[in-house]
């Protein structure tokens, strides 16, 4: 029972971390229909900016400054690059962000060097928050979960309860009509992209010291954020939240399952020969492939339910 509760807690907290990592991507995807391949790079930038700011001023101001700086850079990128490419269609927007991720990796390495930087968890957030069945639950992990839920609520409020939110949603499908009604759609999308990128940077500030802040961190976050957005349903905030929790819990529990096809064969008492015993595929344990389950989920969702769990549209 203890192991089950612990795994559930780990699963939910990992799910919330995943949502925090992909919240910004979901916002941009749902509002602008753009898959930002430089999302992980802004996450890295957020972590490095936080390292720099917390070295000068402190961790708490960094929580504000780092996302603001990133939002500024994101807005500049949208204004002079993304907007120009918009008329060539979604594929070009996606490709230009691929180019951006290459450039950002090099620039970050130029400024902060190639070795990991010592960006630490602040002293006041050290140590465990509570102990469950004899194993302590770290305060900082709870802090991260809090930030993740805060992001969810903030985006949901922005999207559904504010005027800008309605304008944004309308501008996604009928930009010309919204512009005709007097809203400056280009500036709105600049704001949305800046906001999405700020969320990525905030995830960097919060996740950077929990994980390691090094040039390879964008690469190691990798494509998991796309799995969350796509499985959740492109453009659906609720879907992304549910998908992150689902992926978090599934991968966490899968790690504890050591069964393999071999055990299955033995269960239905099929005679197991030596060759079968150490055959790589049969002996492959579920725990060995646990971190890959999200990609299996991605492919199967895209085939059977391309709109995703709670999505409204396919592209």
């Amino acid at each position: 029972m203890a192991f089950f509760a612990l795994s559930l807690l780990n699963g939910v907290s990992y799910g919330l971390l995943l949502f925090m990592l992909s919240a910004g991507l979901t916002l941009i995807m749902s509002m602008m229909g753009v898959l930002n391949f430089a999302h992980a790079s802004f996450y890295m930038l957020g972590a490095y900016l936080a390292y720099q700011v917390s070295a000068w001023i402190g961790f708490w101001p960094a929580l504000l400054i780092s996302p603001l700086v990133a939002a500024l850079l994101g807005a500049v990128f949208e204004r002079w690059v993304l907007r120009r490419v918009h008329r060539h269609g979604h594929a070009s927007e996606l490709l230009v962000t691929v180019g951006l991720s290459f450039v950002m990796l090099e620039v970050v390495q130029l400024v902060w060097g190639r070795a990991p930087v010592g960006y630490r968890i602040p002293a006041e957030l050290e140590g465990p928050l509570f102990t469950l069945f004899g194993s302590p639950f770290p305060l900082y992990r709870a802090f991260m979960m809090g930030v993740s839920i805060l992001m969810l609520v903030a985006i949901w409020l922005l999207v559904s309860r504010t005027r800008i939110g309605l304008v944004i949603q309308a501008a996604l499908t009928h930009p010309d009509m919204v512009q005709a009604l007097g809203h400056d759609v280009p500036r709105v999308s600049m704001g949305v992209f800046g906001g999405g990128v700020a969320l990525a940077a905030l995830a960097g500030v919060v996740g950077g010291n929990a994980y390691t802040t090094e040039p390879g961190m964008a690469f190691s976050v990798g494509n998991i954020v796309f799995v969350v957005v796509v499985v959740g349903g492109m453009g659906s905030l609720g879907g992304a939240f549910v998908a992150s929790l689902l992926i978090g819990v599934v991968t966490t529990f899968a790690v504890s399952l050591d069964q393999s096809l071999l055990h299955l064969l033995q269960a239905v008492d099929v005679p197991v020969t030596d060759a079968m015993a150490n055959h790589a595929l049969l002996a492959l344990k579920i725990s060995q492939v646990a971190p890959l389950l999200p990609y299996l989920l991605l492919v199967s969702v895209l085939i059977f339910r391309p709109k995703g769990l709670m999505g409204t549209r396919e592209t």
């Binding site: 898959l35 690059v81 120009r84 490419v85 060539h88 979604h90 594929a91 070009s92 996606l94 490709l95 230009v96 691929v98 180019g99 951006l100 991720s101 290459f102 450039v103 990796l105 090099e106 620039v107 130029l110 060097g113 190639r114 990798g222 494509n223 796309f226 799995v227 796509v230 492109m234 790589a280 595929l281 492959l284 060995q288 492939v289 971190p291 890959l292 990609y295 299996l296 991605l298 492919v299 895209l302 085939i303 391309p306 396919e314 592209t315």
Partner: protein
């Protein structure tokens, strides 16, 4: 109305000249560039052309943006490596020259299985499926040492079996001509494919999959067959890769490899058939040569790719074709003056910018050892403020010059385009 004095060479002769020229270049290239490194680069260009063309079969011809094309080249390479090892061992009568075909069949088989999953959807969902499949295959390869040889990968030896007409494929030059033969054959086959019913229907699916359904064809089947054919040619490219390096490692199916195929094919140009050929040549030049001269090659590649996506979505081939059209319409003389201004300003601006970038990199990596390095023949000292200021000034001046020249050139270019457009209402077909 001034009659068009463009010499209208009938299409058949123009094709013959083009393909003859292509064959001539493939044959003469190693005789012109003699050094060992050049031969290595040319061999790699040979199979990269096949791979980039097979990638464009999906992207340019079919509008299918794939993030996992390396799965088919990589697994094709693994199949070829295993085939070569078995050919050597039990004396299976498989001549080395047919090993790439085994790679091709391997690539096609994998495409037939994974394609069934991928081509059910189009556009972004298709891209995401290929990415998911690519990630899965890449992460699974180290788990099966038997098939993929673990971290060391599968090594093989192409000097196996008795030589055919004295050709052992040991020396690089013999392998180059095998690659060149395959390159010519595959390029021709893929070109012919675009002129077959399925090839044309693939273009139709790219433009309007819904209408394809209403003229009786199933868009998904069209995409699926095209996906398997692209997998076949990708597998041949992978097979030649395996022969060239005599080693195939997990990175051959990796995400970075897929991204490089996308990047260079797009830079070469996806709208015209020969676009990916330019992209493939560029990929080897950057990968083999540029990375020896500068540590900042990734920064230059990223910036160049962004500029191309922004200003020339048709890629370098579209720029080349546009200029050829202007030349063909006899108006090129009008562009010579602004064009030369642009060509003069560009190196000044580039020299300034690249000096700044190189000095930044050098300061970070090699400064403790020796602060000076040679950049385009000029000795730059990282610790000397004057060099920094000089480079910055050069970049600034160059930038201003470049911007003026660019604006002038664009103005002239637009005028010429309008005139040309006035001459031929409804321009003829793009490819």
């Amino acid at each position: 109305m001034p009659t068009l004095h463009r010499t209208h060479i009938p299409a058949r002769e123009r094709q013959a000249v083009l393909w003859g020229g292509f064959a001539f270049v493939l044959i003469v290239a190693p005789l012109v560039f003699q050094s060992g490194l050049a031969l290595t680069a040319l061999s790699q260009m040979g199979y990269m052309i096949i791979i980039c063309l097979s990638y464009n079969l999906l992207l340019g011809q079919g509008g299918m943006l794939s993030f996992g094309h390396a799965v088919y080249t990589g697994l094709g390479a693994f199949c070829a490596a295993h085939a070569l090892n078995h050919a050597g061992a039990e004396g299976v009568p498989l001549p080395v020259s047919l090993v790439p075909l085994v790679g091709g069949l391997g690539g096609a088989a994998v495409a037939a299985v994974l394609g069934w999953v991928s081509t059910r959807k189009a556009h972004v969902p298709f891209a995401m499926i290929t990415m998911g499949v690519g990630e899965l295959v890449f992460a699974m390869t180290p788990m099966f040492p038997g098939l993929f040889g673990g971290e060391g990968g599968v090594s093989t030896n192409r000097v196996v079996g008795e030589p055919v007409f004295g050709i052992t494929f040991g020396p690089q030059i013999q392998l180059y001509y095998l690659i060149a033969t395959y390159c010519f054959a595959c390029t021709a086959l893929m070109f012919l494919f675009t002129a077959t019913p399925l090839g044309r229907m693939l273009n139709a699916v790219r433009d309007n999959p819904e209408r394809v359904a209403f003229v009786g064809c199933d868009p998904q089947t069209v995409r699926y067959i095209a996906f398997v054919i692209a997998g076949f040619f990708a597998g041949i490219g992978g097979g030649l890769f395996a022969l060239n390096f005599e080693l195939v490692q997990g990175s051959a199916v990796g995400g970075l490899t897929s991204a490089s195929y996308l990047l260079y094919t797009y830079i070469g140009g996806t709208l015209l058939f020969f676009g990916p050929i330019i992209g493939a040549i560029l990929s080897v030049l950057v990968g083999v040569l540029l990375s020896e001269f500068t540590k900042a090659w990734a920064l230059y590649l990223g910036l160049a790719f962004m500029l191309i996506v922004m200003y020339a979505p048709g890629g370098l081939s579209a720029i080349l074709m546009a200029n050829l059209r202007v030349a063909a319409s006899g108006k090129f003389s009008r562009l010579v003056k602004p064009g030369s201004a642009l060509l003069a300003a560009t190196p000044v601006w580039l020299a300034g910018v690249t000096s700044l970038v190189e000095m930044t990199y050098h300061r970070q990596i090699h400064a403790p050892l020796n602060p000076t390095f040679r950049h385009f023949g000029v000795l730059l000292d990282v610790s000397d403020g004057a060099d920094w200021a000089g480079a910055a000034a050069l970049a600034l001046v160059g930038g201003v010059l470049f911007e003026c020249a660019r604006r002038g050139f664009v103005r002239h270019w637009r005028m010429v385009q309008e005139e040309m457009h006035a001459l031929e209402p409804g321009a003829e077909g793009a490819s």
